[in-house]
Amino acid sequence: METDIKEIIKRYGDDKSFLVPILQDVQKRFNYLPREAIQSVSKLLEVPLSQIYHVATFYKAFSLLPRGKHQFQLCVGTACHVRNAALLGEHIERTLGIKPGETTADLEFTFETVNCLGACALGPILVLDEEYHGQMTISKANKILKKLGKKVESDDE
């Protein structure tokens, strides 16, 4: 792991002020921020561990827990909210059994909310593994979930 971290830090010229982008690249590499990785960054970049821990827990982009194979992001920006994104969010919560920010126990799905993706004409929007799905409804969401093998309570076929 330390070799990977060294390589990432080198990409940014060992510059302390690129801590946030460095952690983003580390997360991309390991799917989350393992404790060991954070300790490594602290040692190699010579930044106090407590500062990195604060940064890792402050910014929404970072996860200290392993994330799921599939990542759902529901836009809860104002435009999507006035188009009933909240009800959609509750439905996903119920179906996956997790709250926003959490991952299912089998590490299949992570569900997150995002404060505006900037594609408001398509609201409400659900992003699945970086693919945008617009004009979301509960029935459309069910179709997507079923495709991924998730059982949904209702069947609207």
């Binding site: 954070i38 106090p48 561990l49 407590s50 500062q51 990195i52 821990y53 604060h54 827990t57 402050f58």
Partner: protein, 239 residues
């Protein structure tokens, strides 16, 4: 000699040197402004917002944190306007909802005429003034503890909420906390801060447990003196 500045606080003319904060100038003139996150040894932080005052300068009125705002010539400061008192009352009611019992909080509440908080109480103890974290960073120089999270999930934390690897158990954070939130005790040669144990060094001469071993290792590192030098307590070293 530093340039002197003349300002008025609550109608009273006060002089202070350039670079002084309003709070410092007020304290020097025996004018009381409540504050919780301010500490002489630490850089001004401005997080508790109890020390807000209303200033008027070149025709503009606004509220500023007196612990941070530096005095300028001709500044007019009012420490008790309605707007200021409303901020203070809100702040103390909000702090009471986190810590409804500590004498430090209760005393300020009494001064402000706040008998009880209207907000639902959820005892958290810590009022997030940040003095512990700032002390460890600025005075001790180790940043063993820091903040974690943001917004209402903000808390002081040892990294990963586990044993802080950089901590030398000096106890400065415990000492500086205005609401005695961080627990520390010593028993059987072990100092325990929160739930983390730090073995104490026993004096090679008198047998007294006098300092955490980690602290002495740190002194050895920064002074360059051998560790053996620190294995006797200060009193025994003198004799």
């Amino acid at each position: 000699m530093a340039e002197m500045v003349t300002l008025t606080i609550d109608g009273r003319e006060v002089t202070a040197s350039f670079g002084t904060t309003i709070l410092e100038a007020a304290q020097d003139a025996n004018i009381y402004i409540p504050n919780l996150c301010n500490n002489e040894e630490l850089a001004p932080y401005g997080s508790c917002r109890l020390c807000m005052v209303e200033i008027s300068h070149q025709g503009h009125n606004r509220l500023v944190a007196s612990c941070i705002y530096e005095v300028v010539d001709g500044l007019q400061v009012k420490t008790n306007t309605e707007r200021v008192m409303n901020v203070r009352k809100l702040v103390i009611e909000l702090l009471l909802s986190r810590n409804s019992t500590h004498p430090t909080i209760r005393r300020i509440a009494d001064e402000l005429g706040v008998k009880a908080t209207r907000f639902p109480i959820e005892e958290k103890g810590c009022i997030l003034c940040g003095q512990c974290v700032r002390t460890c960073r600025e005075v001790v120089g180790l940043s063993a503890i820091g903040f974690s999270g943001r917004g209402i999930t903000r808390r002081i934390a040892a990294p990963f909420l586990d044993f802080p690897p950089d901590c030398i158990a000096c106890g400065s954070c415990v000492y500086v906390c205005p609401v005695n939130f961080i627990p520390m005790r010593e028993q059987n040669g072990v100092r325990t801060i929160i739930r983390f144990d730090f073995p104490m060094q026993q004096c090679k001469k008198c047998g007294k447990f006098f300092a955490p071993k980690k602290q002495l290792e740190y002194f050895s590192k920064i002074t360059g003196l051998p560790l053996e030098h620190f294995e006797t307590c200060v009193d025994c070293r003198k004799s």
